[in-house]
């Protein structure tokens, strides 16, 4: 059973995500605040899609819907043609804050998903492998307060990857890191994605980050978020930040976001 599942996973590691006519709103003090307006998007298996938009536009809300943490007011979300009804370890989220559990060591934090699914005892090697993947084997017995911001975010990444997700959902995971750590971790993310082949959805408000990482950039409007543009970034990896083609796209996207004057 497990072996069969492993085989399927090896065949097609990523899942497709099908978002159809999704509307969503929050009730704030009785008033309805519309955050998503008829969002439709199909993400192919193994794609790296960046969701780009002004801050507060509702892109994180969309991620929460994809993760299954919230339910949309209307419309449907499907993973590999199966309706998304709640959170599932095949779609793992890495949040802006690492939100490691401070009472657990690095190793125990990474083991969280396997423990929650009740398969940790037989699969302990997967935790070691995930820690190795992010280069933190030496820190497995450390507590989160002993880690730097970059290391903590790496642990959060390992905690997600240990579940062998089909879809990795990244909610501005590098947003709070210093710029050098950020560049290094962007490269690591691309390498992991290429190696593992999972579908990746990245929310960001950093145009350059979207262009360096993703093969599709979805530009969202101000709240309520609508899809303004769907831009294919057809450049090989590793990408160069000075690539003139990327610079063109950057100018185009900033224009879509109403920031052409500042460019």
């Amino acid at each position: 059973m497990v072996a069969a599942a492993e085989a399927v996973r090896a065949q097609c590691p990523g899942a497709s995500i099908d978002i159809a006519h999704v509307d969503h709103a929050f009730d704030i003090d009785g008033a309805e605040l519309k955050v998503l307006d008829d969002v439709s998007l199909i993400v192919e298996p193994g794609e790296f899609v960046a969701l780009l938009g002004p801050s507060g536009c509702g892109k994180s809300t969309l991620l929460r819907l994809i993760a299954g943490l919230d339910k949309p007011r209307s419309g449907s979300l499907r993973e590999d043609e199966v309706s998304i009804k709640g959170p599932h370890p095949s779609r793992v989220v890495v949040f802006q804050d690492p939100t490691l559990f401070p009472w657990r060591t690095v190793w125990d934090n990474v083991a969280l998903g396997l423990e929650a699914q009740g398969i940790l005892r037989k699969q302990r090697h997967r935790v070691d492998a995930a820690l190795d993947l992010v280069g933190l084997t030496n820190f497995k017995n450390a507590y989160p307060h002993q880690l730097s911001g970059g290391m903590a975010q790496r642990v959060a990444l390992a905690r997600a990857l240990v579940n062998d997700p089909k879809v990795l959902v990244l909610d501005e995971p590098l947003g709070k890191l210093d710029s050098l750590t950020r560049i290094a971790m962007q490269a690591e993310l691309v390498a992991l994605w290429q190696r593992k082949g999972f579908t990746t959805l990245l929310v960001t408000h950093d145009v350059e980050e979207a262009l360096v990482l993703a093969n599709r950039v979805i530009v969202l409007s101000d709240r309520p978020a609508r899809i303004k543009a769907d831009i294919v970034v057809d450049r090989p990896y590793p990408r160069h930040r000075g690539d003139p083609h990327l610079a063109d796209l950057r100018r185009q996207i900033l224009g879509l976001l109403g920031l052409e004057a500042t460019w």
């Binding site: 989220v93 559990f101 998903g113 929650a116 002993q146």
Partner: protein, 337 residues
């Protein structure tokens, strides 16, 4: 690990003649402490006691023995490693204690500056510990049994109640008003009712101690569970956690720092109830011993019991803190990369 203070670095390369002065400064507190204890011993022998106490000579011998030990350890501290430095750190306290005991001895047994039955000398209290030991020990055991039972029941109940109302809005709806109504009432106010509502005074006291413990533990556990960041639950849920996992592996560990504050407050409150319950209801324990001693105007017994009681309460709190430090080891920011 070696540490250097500024003064050490500054005097490091001065003339060798200061080495002797340094050595003297090192051993001086130890010598002073030894002298104070020797003075205490001398005070015991300086003249006849004004009253009739049998342990005066024994006490003097003990004081001289302590003085000798302090002197030896104090002078040889640098060769005794950790024990030596521990004593050196405490020598100001040893000195103060010696001085205090000397004054106490002189003010009571020798010159009776303090009115006598109310202020017994040190040897009178020692006499209690040697001659009334079985009764005192019985009282200690009874107190510990009563306290431990009530405290454990109260802490467990409070913890479970706190987690329940912090987690489930429906349970909170029913329990919260009851908690608000009954919780702030001092547990001792239940005393008259408890003693006829319960079959034995022992079970009534256990109930009261549990009540005094349970309220702070409940409130703090509840607030701890309620203040767990929702992001923790989001993370666990996306990783496949089911509700029980969220309670046991997310809510409870995250709330533990609050729980320990509640356990500490509950411990303090339960001591007060324990003593009152023993004085009024249960005919055993240190509270009853105090009551009994007062009835006989046996003031030395009261001081002796108070001292034991204080050691027990302080020991219980130390134990709780040690447990907390061990359980919450992840909270400390000691090691940092």
């Amino acid at each position: 690990m070696s540490t250097f203070s500024l003064s050490e670095i500054a005097t490091g390369d001065s003339a060798p003649s200061s080495a002797l002065a340094d050595k003297l400064r090192d051993v001086a507190p130890g010598i002073a402490a030894a002298l104070a204890w020797a003075a205490f011993g001398a005070a015991c022998l300086v003249r006849e006691d004004v009253g009739d106490w049998s342990r005066t000579t024994d006490l003097a011998i003990a004081a001289f023995v302590i003085a000798g030990l302090v002197l030896i350890v104090g002078v040889a501290a640098s060769h005794l490693g950790r024990a030596g430095s521990a004593l050196r750190r405490r020598s100001p306290w040893l000195l103060a204690l010696g001085v205090f005991l000397t004054l106490w001895e002189l003010a009571t047994a020798k010159y009776a500056w303090l009115p006598l039955p109310f202020f017994p000398p040190p040897q009178a209290i020692i006499e209690i510990y040697t001659d009334d030991l079985p009764k005192l020990l019985d009282s200690v055991v009874a107190s510990i049994k009563l306290q431990l039972g009530g405290y454990l029941i109260g802490a467990a109940t409070g913890f479970i109640t706190g987690v329940s109302i912090g987690w489930s809005a429906r349970i909170g709806y029913w329990v919260h008003p009851v908690l608000r109504f009954i919780g702030p009432l001092p547990a001792t106010a239940w005393l008259p009712i408890a003693f006829f509502a319960f079959p034995t005074s022992w079970s009534a006291s256990t109930f009261l101690i549990a009540l005094a413990t349970g309220f702070p533990v409940t409130v703090l556990t509840w607030s701890g569970v309620a203040s767990v960041p929702t992001a923790y639950y989001d993370v666990a849920r996306t990783l496949g956690a089911r509700p029980w996992f969220l309670v046991l592996k997310v809510a409870i560990p995250a709330a533990l720092p609050h729980v320990f504050v509640g356990l500490f407050m509950g411990l303090g409150a339960s001591f007060a109830v324990l003593v009152v319950a023993e004085m009024i209801g249960v005919k055993a324990g240190l509270g009853w011993y105090l009551q009994w001693a007062q009835g006989w105007a046996a003031y030395a017994n009261m001081y002796a019991a108070l001292l034991v009681m204080s050691l027990l309460c302080s020991g219980a709190i130390t134990l709780l803190f040690k447990t907390r430090d061990r359980v919450l080891i992840w909270q400390k920011g000691v090691v940092k990369w």
